[in-house]
Symmetry: C2
Amino acid sequence: MIHYPKAIQQAIQELSRLPGIGTKTAERLVMSILRKKRADQTALVTSLANLQKSVQMCTTCGYVTDNSDGICHYCKDPQRGEQTICVVADMQTLQVIEKSGAFKGKYHVLGGTINPIEGISADMLTIASLIRRVQTAKGKIKEVLLATGTDIEGEQTALYIAQHFKTSGIKLTRLARGIPRGSNLEYADEMTLADAITNRQQV
Amino acid sequence: MIHYPKAIQQAIQELSRLPGIGTKTAERLVMSILRKKRADQTALVTSLANLQKSVQMCTTCGYVTDNSDGICHYCKDPQRGEQTICVVADMQTLQVIEKSGAFKGKYHVLGGTINPIEGISADMLTIASLIRRVQTAKGKIKEVLLATGTDIEGEQTALYIAQHFKTSGIKLTRLARGIPRGSNLEYADEMTLADAITNRQQV
């Protein structure tokens, strides 16, 4: 029979609760943590403890921050335009958009997408706070760019938000559909190709 | 430009030092930790802190233990034979052998295999302590089963240990080579097939 010290069993259990980490991987991670130097072990544990201690959600946009006033880097940045809010599902999407360098407005992080199968309903996202945010801005916010994914959940979430802003007079936009850069058209799917033809641009 | 709070940057850095975890995965893990409930975050951090606090290497065999005397579960087990020591590269291999249920002796965990490319030399493994252990047992240990892998590093390590026991009169064995259970011979490689023919067994 296999026998692990209790501390190892618990660490495996906790790690395997993280996404994409099964028991086998958790086991491998624990073994490698045990093999680390004492200082490196401490650094890992401290970094995770600090996550909990010092990081919170931005009270305006839902991104993360360690500022004591609870307002994140992007919301504070005076260089960023106040007129457009880019609505993203999660922080990773925000990162990708930032990397593109093409957006200079403010963000709103939903914290997921509406997904009935996984039990994520609209009220579990920061949609209400987005609506409040736009109302409170009293006309300062001119455009809401719905930058959710083009999968069913993303489209569904965008549609849900769009319905709430229908009568508000605010400009609602979404990311352009088309052929990705560097693509061989031979491998493009018909839906994307249809999108690209419908939205063809003048050169 | 992407901006993460410092605590997030550090947690990503520390997590991406673990094997098989790149920056992208570390980022995803950190985000999922941030989304967890406070109690679950604490459970994760505590479990990793406890690893460091309560787990140590068994002073006899190199496996892990949380016993205060530093002797592990397997070394303490009176049901296990003292005559055979099964030498394994790491704790995972020990687990697999235990799962097979075919070995009832004691173990010795090397902590890796000799691998010049990765800079792991024989003196970084518990080989010296294995030799000492056999000497101290004064004839009580009759057999050393070299259960290292059949890759170059495994074979190399087994060979190195074997040389040290050459003149000791101890019986040295290794795992049988042959066709794995449930294999279609069509897909067996020639080396394995050659092994299986050389070591053919009477039925």
